[in-house]
Amino acid sequence: MKYLISNSFSGIVTLLLTITLFPGFLFAQSQEDETTEKKSTSLSLVLTRKAGGDYQMKASLAMMTETGRTLLKGVDITFAGGDDLSQIIGKQKTNLKGSTVFTFPKDRLSLPNEEGFRTFGAVYAGCDTLEPTEDQISVKDLMIEVTSVEEDSVRSIHAAAWSVGNNGDKIPLTETDIVFYVPRMFSYLKIGEATLDSSGTAVVEFPGGLPGDETGHITVIAKVEEHDVFGNAEGETRVGWAVPARLIMKDSYRALWSQIAPTWMIVTLIIMLAGVWGHYAYAVYKLVKIKKTARKLST
């Protein structure tokens, strides 16, 4: 009973508080909100040149508030190229986490300027409460070629990185770190790291025991990251050196959590039920007999 009283008491208190305090609270809040000045926004961009030559841009849009950044969902971001971002490539909405990943197809890239830089940008047009914002990145194309070499049972991944000069010659990228990854469900898994040598190549050993697809194939990506001139650039290849990975369900025949019960259980149940209900039927049969003999007597 004590419990009951205390429970209902707290319930009443909560209810009263909700009814009496809440309007006051809201009112107080709304006084502050009378200002109609626009909130500033900011875009953050991550640009990567993918293996095929497409560029991929991840854009995150946030609204600046007193307490920090608040990500905005479902907002249209326009993606554009060209020095003045005049060449609009496409438009995409931000996801639940306030970001969106957009691909600039390689055949629709803006032309590089005389120094070889291409410009990519994202624009948020703003609205009556949010300031418009835009940001852009300029990078040079970096080609990365990834090859696999198996020598004396040593399996290695080779990467060569170069850019194309004004006259069409290959200029190797040197003295730069390059990271090797395999793509996984949620992210890239790092399998090695090396520095590009004077010829613009780097080698890492392919690790053993790495699960791939069902046939043992796996994609390997070599990536130059956050380079001053080239930004992020990737190259990839596919090798058959991984361990074939297939989900094997260890389904114990004694497992009780499966959909269908173990056979012995079904058999036992049927035997027991048949036994018991058989006897019930016998008893009822006897009752019928009693009734029949009674009818015989009366006639």
């Binding site: 309007p23 502050e32 608040t70 990500l71 639940l96 469900m185």
Partner: protein, 339 residues
């Protein structure tokens, strides 16, 4: 361009229209929580800004930002997040092909920041007192060091909860995830007594009705249903989009790693490592292995920890702190104030 976020005065007399919304706002404010929110715009609905093609329905909905401001927006401009991720019931019974999910929790990094709990409650629209992930303060024996212990559902490979269910409302998929079909559940609570990890919670009363329009899916277990059981779903809805569970992305410390055991990779959103190497190098283990439930959640022991465990009480809501006051680790510690 017309924007849908409008800041305006909310008339005093008309603010009890949407009872469930306002109650929720009140609860949120009362708890002083919500500092962490992915969008900052809550009240159950998510705010999408900048849409042009929205016809004004005229009905205004109040939403609350994380910084405590009340915004009023047109109802038609609120995006319903549960709508775009719903998988129908039949598909939700099948696991994601050739995947077997695994979670690794690094106890050395956890300092009870409770971001995982808040993101989970927020993301799954859980009613108050429902927490699918809980943070325990454990101490194995008197002379051993206490440690913070986040506990989601373990998605066991030999799940007692599934074995004991009389109607098949809870089931295990090929990708290892154990789900509850709240439209099948009869509420006998046998699974709750069957689970040795207290991972399941029960809707003792009618959960607040938000998103009435959202179709139900066991992957979201939403809308919640009175008299049925709820539990951590490993964010099965996000996994379909190759996105990490909410607790993983929310954790500021990168405590929780999540991945696929078939490709032997786990990630905490910051670093990606091989599962087998992580378990080998950090002596990973499963909690209460002796029970034979074969959990899919592994723990890395709290060695070389980054914070003393007392830090876990920093900035904790007094109400929240009270919850740990019956633990031995709290009682014996002279550093913690005992009012």
């Amino acid at each position: 361009m017309k924007c849908m976020i409008t800041l305006k005065i909310i008339p005093k007399d008309n603010n009890m229209e949407d009872k469930s919304n306002s109650r929720r706002q009140f609860l949120k404010l009362g708890a002083g929580a919500g500092a962490f929110a992915l969008a900052g715009l809550t009240a159950g609905k998510l705010l999408s800004a900048g849409q042009e093609n929205n016809a004004n329905s005229g009905k205004k909905i109040k939403v609350l930002t994380t910084d405590g401001r009340v915004l009023e927006v047109d109802e038609s401009q609120l995006a319903d997040p549960s709508l775009d991720v719903v998988v129908d019931k039949d598909s939700s019974h099948l696991g994601i092909e050739n995947r077997k999910f695994v979670m690794v929790i690094d106890l050395a990094k956890c300092k009870n920041a409770r971001a995982c709990v808040e993101a989970c409650v927020e993301g799954h629209h859980l009613p108050s007192d429902h927490e699918w992930i809980k943070v325990y303060l454990l101490q194995n024996s008197e002379r051993e060091a206490p440690y913070w212990f986040p506990r989601p559902c373990f998605h066991c490979d030999n799940p007692m909860c599934v074995s004991v269910c009389p109607v098949g409302a809870t089931y295990k998929r090929t990708d290892g995830i154990v789900l509850v079909d709240n439209e099948r559940c009869i509420g006998c609570k046998f699974c709750m007594t069957g689970c040795p990890y207290s991972a399941r919670v029960f809707h003792w009363n009618d959960p607040p009705e938000l998103h009435e329009t959202a179709p139900y899916s066991p992957e979201t277990t939403f809308p919640h249903k009175e008299g049925t059981v709820g539990k951590c779903v490993f964010c099965a809805d996000l996994l379909r989009k190759n996105e990490l569970p909410r607790c993983v992305t929310a954790c500021p410390m990168g405590v929780i790693y999540f991945g696929d055991i078939v490709e032997d990779t786990v990630t905490n959103g910051m670093e990606t490592v091989r599962f087998s190497e992580l378990i080998r190098d950090r002596a990973g283990y499963r909690h209460l292995e002796s029970l034979g439930t074969e959990p899919s959640v592994y723990y890395l022991p709290a060695v070389n920890r980054q914070f003393p465990y007392e830090r876990g009480f920093d900035g904790l809501d007094p109400k929240q702190k009270e919850r740990y006051e019956n633990t031995a680790a709290y009682k014996i510690n002279p550093l913690l104030k005992h009012e």
